[in-house]
Amino acid sequence: MPLPIVIADDSLLARKVLTRALPPDWEVDVSYASNGREALALYREGKASVMFLDLTMPDMTGYQVLEALQHEDLNTFVIVVSADVQPMAQARVRALGAAAFIAKPVTPEAVLPILKEYGLYV
């Protein structure tokens, strides 16, 4: 069964870039969210075994989504994808329960080792 994943970013360009950076033979069922609220709703529908999460989004930022997820049964791997490469931003999302951090622009070379590390792609 394909793995349900969510790509949450307010930019269509960013969603496309990320989709292209996923392993082509990775069996996934992708849902897209253009803000944090949609991402959270998709998670609650069980569509986010993995969530690629942008930080700067309208209508719930990535930080707010992470905070909200902490009150749920956190049944997802959140991989934060952000242009904010300040070390403190990375430390903050880690503290909020994110599994990994990828700096934009996203490349396949950045995504692959993380998926392998968590056994999400073999």
Partner: protein, 207 residues
């Protein structure tokens, strides 16, 4: 004069390009000021220069006087970048970084020097990164002070700046306590906007 416009896809792409550029600039600004910079979604808006002051006022809520530094950039997409801060913000920031107990790179700095440094970081990182993502390598001219304690209307007075179109890139660089915000505006001629929209199409079709 036909109003140059961007399609929704082009505007979205430009906003994401600006978002990446903002991330680069924030890292450098954070280092300069030794403070975490909070980023928000950049907003991108294309307006005629004659409407720029009003549009910027609406985007930023600035009613007070501002300091503005201008710096030209050249490639086939060319124009001038303006970095704008409220005058009292610069004064406040100046006292913050001059604090002998703060760990910033400064011991003593004048408001003018600080404004130039902030503008230099933002223009250098932001404009370079935006144009780099569009496949251009711009050449920069020396920055100049457009004015300290001027109104937005003065900054965009016809005759002061020769450009037709203003690309308002509302990059919100805010210090954590929100005592400081900076805004970036790229002014261009219509021809450069056309080149930019073609570059955005190329970027989109490459995906």
């Amino acid at each position: 004069m036909s109003e140059p416009i961007l399609t929704e896809d082009q505007r979205d792409a430009l906003q994401e390009v600006a978002n990446l550029a903002m991330g680069q600039a924030a890292t450098r600004l954070a280092r300069l000021l030794d403070s975490f910079i909070e980023l928000s979604v950049p907003r991108v808006k294309l307006v005629a220069v004659t409407e720029a002051a009003q549009a910027l006022r609406e985007m930023t809520g600035i009613e007070d006087t501002v300091s503005a530094v201008r710096q030209g950039f050249r490639s086939d997409i060319k124009g001038e970048a303006l970095v704008i801060c409220r005058s009292d913000c610069i004064a406040q920031l100046c006292s913050l970084v001059s604090d002998p107990y703060a760990r910033s790179s400064y011991e003593a700095v004048s408001q003018t020097e600080l404004m130039f440094d902030v503008a230099n970081v933002l223009t250098g990182a932001c404009v370079s990164s935006i144009l780099d993502q569009l496949g251009r390598t711009p050449v920069f001219s020396a920055p100049g002070m457009l004015g300290e304690a001027m109104t937005l209307d003065d900054a965009f007075q016809p005759g002061v700046l020769q450009w037709e179109v203003a690309l308002l890139v509302e990059v919100n660089f805010a210090l954590e306590d929100h005592s400081f915000r900076a805004h970036l505006v790229m002014l261009m001629a219509e021809e450069s906007i056309r080149h930019m929209s073609m570059a955005l199409d190329a970027l989109l079709s490459s995906l």
